[in-house]
């Protein structure tokens, strides 16, 4: 089920009630585990089996790792986990993509090959929970962490519903220790958790779904050629939509967990105020970028083996990171562009190691970063390269004869909301949400909270899925 649904409100109310009843801690954890399976099966019950497979394989792989005496055996257990997880991901997420590309390759070679019909439904959130379970085995393999003490704690780590389908991607060391001793939210945590849920749902339901999604759709899913203003408005709208959608989910998830007394990590830190791309990736989808860094970039050599190897590791990481988002070459292009940006930035930093920008240049570099990030969103949002080129040509002013597409209202929406998002990110760049709330008068917090609730109810969200569920 999605957070922005009546079903979730009813479900969450029941979970909160159960969690507050005077049961033993083990019973409460079993309740949370069952609730998490219900949460997942509310989409498609049979896919719970995949969760069980992932849980059991990685549990036994980690046990095997600990008991193994020879390095080869440790390798084997680690590989078993990686192959099982990547295999599952590959089958469900990339099977069709691989088959299509294989068919295209055969066709290019003059070999007629028509595969059998292959219609696999993508299990919701499979990319997220496979990464979470893989990090468990890899941390044990890398001797960074000890395995969980019992299967219940481990299964709950994998399945815990606030992070299950769209992150933040949690590491076992972040969550499993929280299951060791009884936890229940204090009254303050519960209320602040509800406030975070409101902020997250406002981002998703009001800003992303109700105001911005439609603008991006008209440009990216329509069949008309956009001029410069429309192409930029559509792309900026998407930049706001994807942030509000995904950061909204993360904030809601953090709030949900906090209401139950658990802490989840930050996943976004005002990314549109980033200056440079390494800064951007420290602020955008932090739990994925750090996962890729720790389990892909560093094992590939990181920056320890000279510039050439560093750039190769960087590009590999970003290309695979792009592919993680979806089985389409446009996502690979998106990751590749970010890889190029990071490599170029790295080169420039080495070349101008002593350069320190003044305040004006600093802001200009930030706006340049945001502009270049927007160019990558074109490939992320467009379903085909043809559409991506059409929008890019529009953004560059090359679709001369294009007629206006968006009405004035849509342009105003983009200007106000996306402008507001970017401005807010800059104002919050060196702050935390908590510090701003702590300094605000209580009446203002109260009023803003009421307005967010009012907006959430009156836009009448249709319970649409979060964008990142498809990843």
């Amino acid at each position: 089920m999605v957070f922005n649904s009546l079903t979730f409100i009813a479900f969450f109310g029941c979970v909160l009630l159960l969690h507050s009843l005077p049961f033993g801690w083990t019973t409460k954890k079993v309740n949370l585990l069952i609730a998490s399976y219900l949460f997942y099966s509310a989409w498609n019950p049979p896919f719970v089996i995949l969760l069980w497979v992932s849980t059991v394989v990685d549990w036994y792989a980690a046990q095997g790792l600990v008991k193994a005496r020879r390095q080869a055996a440790r390798h084997a257990w680690m590989l078993l986990s990686v192959i099982a997880n990547i295999g599952m991901l590959g089958f469900f997420k990339y099977g069709q993509f691989l088959l299509e590309n294989f068919t295209a390759l055969m066709s290019a070679l003059g070999i007629a090959y028509s595969p059998a019909h292959y219609d696999i439904v993508l299990p919701v959130g499979i990319s997220f929970y496979t990464f979470a379970t893989m990090s468990y085995v890899l941390d044990v393999y890398l001797r960074r962490a000890l395995p969980a003490q019992n299967l219940l704690d481990y299964a709950l780590f994998v399945t815990f519903f606030p992070h299950l389908v769209a992150g933040p991607i949690m590491r076992p060391t972040e969550l499993v220790p929280q299951f060791a001793a009884p936890r229940r939210a204090t009254a303050q945590q519960l209320r602040f958790g509800l406030a975070l849920m409101t902020i997250g749902l406002f981002n998703k339901i009001v800003l992303a779904d109700s105001f911005l999604a439609n603008v991006a759709e008209r440009i990216y899913d329509g069949d008309r050629t956009p001029g410069a203003l429309d192409a930029w408005a559509g792309t900026l709208a998407f930049s706001g939509q994807i942030f509000c959608d995904f950061a909204g989910y993360s904030t809601t998830a953090i709030g949900v967990a906090l209401c139950l007394g658990f802490a989840m990590p930050d996943n976004f830190r005002f990314p549109y105020a980033a200056v440079g791309f390494s800064d951007f990736w420290r602020r955008w989808h932090i739990t994925l970028s750090s996962w890729l860094r720790d389990y892909l970039y560093i094992p590939l050599g990181g920056n320890r083996h000279g510039p050439r190897r560093t750039y190769a590791a960087l590009m590999t990481t970003m290309l695979l990171g792009g592919l993680w988002h979806g089985a389409n070459w446009t996502f690979v292009a998106w990751g590749g562009l970010h890889g190029v940006y990071l490599a170029a930035e790295r080169g420039l930093r080495a070349r101008f190691a002593n350069y320190r920008p003044g305040p004006v240049v600093f802001v200009a570099l930030g706006l340049l970063t945001y502009t270049l990030v927007n160019l990558t969103w074109v490939f992320f949002r467009a379903k085909t390269f043809a559409k991506a080129w059409l929008v890019l040509r529009g953004m560059l002013g090359l679709n001369g004869a294009a007629k206006p597409i968006l009405p004035t209202f849509s342009l105003a929406v983009v200007a106000v909301i996306v402008g507001g998002i970017v401005l807010t990110h800059w104002l919050m760049r060196a702050r935390t949400l908590e510090s701003v709330i702590a300094r605000a008068p209580a009446a203002v917090v109260c009023g803003v909270w009421a307005l967010l609730l009012f907006a959430i109810v009156t836009v009448q969200g249709a319970g649409s899925a979060f964008i990142y569920f498809q990843f």
Partner: protein
């Protein structure tokens, strides 16, 4: 992603270090290559109890004002016209009511046919599967593929929708097939605890919709079309009727007419005559296949051209002439049909049915119309006295 673990990189990290922000904390981005610790999740110091109570009270007051505003506008709480609601009715065919009478059309069959009247006359309530702004063909194909359905189907034909294949809700059958348990529960909760009590819970009064229809200045070269406004009220079993405001409020009636008029003007996006003709033939082809599949297992299919008047009728006659569309449909499918112009009992000009915006009739007239239509159907097509020739041959109906 972070490309370096150097201290210089860390110094620039987010700018949080050294700030007087006691809520500042590291993230996984700041801790490369190590096991990540349990996250910090501080709660800002505020009187959260009072804030929560105040926010709930204020939100309730704001929502109360919003509700009041829409009730004053003439809105009553009604069931939301969703694909989830459609799916509930669709499932009835698979749950023991496969022999039911199904109403399948666009908004005219949806708003004008009154289920209670039909039920009073037949003793059984039909299943309403029409959807506004949608050709019934996708749903007809869905029924054709469902062997559990063995009843009767009345297919409404609104020429501009049926013969163009246009469908705002063409995804309804797919939604019904794929509806998740979560969506089903959400639908049930909404129609029992939200929709019957709140008038503002209607897409036409959603905040963003209200803002979008304000008189924003037009961009040069960008003609903005007014969206269709609220036209009907829907009940839990999808019995719908025209919203009384359309008939009673002259300003609103004029607005709805103005919205229809937009469609009557030629547009650069219109298909060429050749394209339109091709599309019409495709739609008739779809109907032929679906009707053949249904009749092969004994399902009775009856087409009905619901009334329209005034500028709307003129537009339909101009763009979708009867001979080229309606007559061709009946001839190709071999199914019988009722065209309102052929029956004095169904003609607005003879019976005084009031269609305020030329396309749908008021609730009271819908009740009269339903009784009249049911009488014709029983007499000539589906009743025990209907002759086989009339029931199967369109020519007989046309000659009535």
């Amino acid at each position: 992603m972070p490309s370096s673990t150097s201290s210089s990189d860390r110094a620039e990290r987010g700018g949080l270090r050294g700030a007087s922000d006691r809520y500042a904390r590291q993230t996984a981005a700041d801790r490369p290559g190590i096991a990540q610790p349990v996250p910090a999740r501080p709660v800002p110091e505020q009187p959260w109890g009072r804030i929560l109570a105040g926010a709930l009270l204020l939100a309730a007051l704001l929502l109360g004002g919003w509700e009041r505003y829409w009730r004053d506008y003439g809105v009553h709480p009604a069931i939301a016209n969703t694909e989830g609601l459609w799916a509930i009715q669709r499932r009835r065919l698979d749950s023991g009511e496969g022999d039911a009478t199904v109403l399948l059309g666009s908004s005219r069959l949806y708003f004008d046919l009154q289920l209670p009247v039909w039920q009073r006359l037949e003793g059984r309530r039909p299943i309403q599967l029409s959807f506004e702004g949608t050709s019934p063909l996708t749903a007809l194909e869905d029924l054709a593929g469902d062997s559990k359905f063995t009843g009767r189907v009345l297919v409404g034909v609104a020429p501009d929708l049926f013969f163009s294949g246009f469908g705002l809700h063409n995804g309804a059958p797919r939604y019904a097939n794929k509806e998740s348990p979560s969506q089903r529960i959400g639908q049930w909760l909404s129609m029992h605890f939200i929709e019957p009590y709140f008038a503002f819970d209607d897409p036409d009064f959603a905040l963003q919709t209200v803002l979008a229809r304000q008189p924003w200045p037009e961009r040069p070269g960008n003609k903005w079309f007014l969206r269709v406004r609220k036209l009907a009220e829907v009940g839990p079993d999808r019995n719908a009727h025209l919203w009384s405001k359309v008939g009673d409020d002259p300003q609103y009636r004029e607005l709805t007419r103005r919205i229809w008029r937009q469609d009557f003007q030629p547009s650069p996006d219109d298909p060429t005559p050749a394209e339109a003709l091709k599309t019409e033939k495709e739609q008739i082809g779809r109907a032929v296949r679906a009707v053949a599949a249904l009749r092969a297992r004994g399902v009775k299919v009856l087409f009905v051209r619901m009334p329209s008047i005034g500028e709307f009728l003129a537009y339909e006659n101009r763009g979708f002439p009867r001979q080229r569309t309606w007559d061709a449909l009946l001839a190709a499918t071999g199914a019988p049909g009722i065209h309102f112009e052929d029956y004095p009992e169904l003609r607005p000009d003879r019976q005084g049915y009031y269609l305020p915006e030329w396309s749908h009739m008021t609730r009271a007239d819908g009740e009269r119309f339903t009784a009249a239509l049911y009488g014709i159907i029983e007499r000539d097509f589906w009743g025990p006295g209907a002759s086989a020739a009339t029931a199967e041959a369109p020519a007989a109906a046309a000659a009535h």
